[in-house]
């Protein structure tokens, strides 16, 4: 949570700066961000690979456990399809790419800013922050209406870190591995699925 506030304050600071100096800025985001984005993905990868729990989690995998991240992916796809049929303001692939951020707002918003521009980047940022915050607040409610796996699914990629404590509290400590594995797998998949959604649809 402290990290989220730290990160968001940078976005807010940039926003303010952008508004103040909008006339003197002729801004092309791509010229600044290419290498920073490569660096980011390299660091995120190193961070995942070097996590001592990473291998334990991969080793502890039983086939059945894959059903949980799979439900989250298909469920998110379903949710976005329904959203698109009712509201459908964006291209389907754009909405799906936002959904496939799975709560990983920093990475998904930056990738989408690069592929599609600031508007979709901001939507991805806000949508995926919302996914995290809603999970933090409603985890116990989700358990009551949809069983013990539901807060894990709702947390998406964040079920391995930021939303893990509330998930374990709502679902029970025995869901530690389920929740961690779910988060790790979705975190790895976010860059792939986000760009795939844009390219396919």
């Amino acid at each position: 949570m402290k990290n989220s506030i730290f990160i968001i304050s940078f976005f807010a600071g940039g926003l303010l700066l952008g508004i103040l100096f909008q006339d003197s800025l002729n801004f092309d985001i791509n010229q600044f961000t290419d290498y920073a984005l490569y660096a980011l993905l390299l660091f995120v990868g190193i961070n995942l690979g070097s996590d001592p729990k990473f291998l334990d989690i991969i080793k502890s995998i039983r086939p059945k456990i894959f059903l949980i991240p799979l439900s989250t992916i298909i469920g998110t796809l379903l949710g976005v399809v329904v959203y698109h049929l009712i509201f459908g303001k964006l291209e389907f692939g754009e909405s799906l790419a936002v959904g496939f951020g799975f709560g990983y707002y920093s990475l998904s918003s930056i990738i989408l800013t690069k592929i599609s521009g600031e508007s979709l980047g901001v939507i991805a940022l806000l949508a995926n922050i919302s996914r995290e915050v809603i999970t933090l607040i409603l985890a116990p409610f989700f358990v009551r209406i949809a069983g013990n796996l539901s807060p894990i699914a709702s947390g998406g990629a964040t079920s391995m870190d930021t939303t893990l404590p509330v998930i374990l509290k709502a679902s029970g400590k025995e869901y530690l591995i389920h929740s961690m594995l779910h988060g790790v797998l979705l975190t790895i998949l976010v860059p792939f699925l986000v760009s795939l959604a844009i390219q396919l649809f």
Partner: protein, 92 residues
Amino acid sequence: MIILLSVFAIGILLGWLFKKIKNLEAISGKLSMVSIAFLLFILGIGVGAKEEVRSHLDTLGLTALLIALFSIAGSIFLAWITWKIFYRKNEE
């Protein structure tokens, strides 16, 4: 995009190969935070400087919230089905 994804895959491999290095996880975590902060700062400037994006922040926010709500609803619906079929029966 392919370069981006390859860099990511290389990162995971490097992290796994050099996981013996002390503090590698903590350092890479810090460095990714710094890159994220920088990139979101730049995104902030881009949004702030562009009238056509800035003036639509409320619409963008509503779209974002709706996509989040539908994604969560779909996810917990499928999680509920998975729970009913594959998990609940096995509880002792």
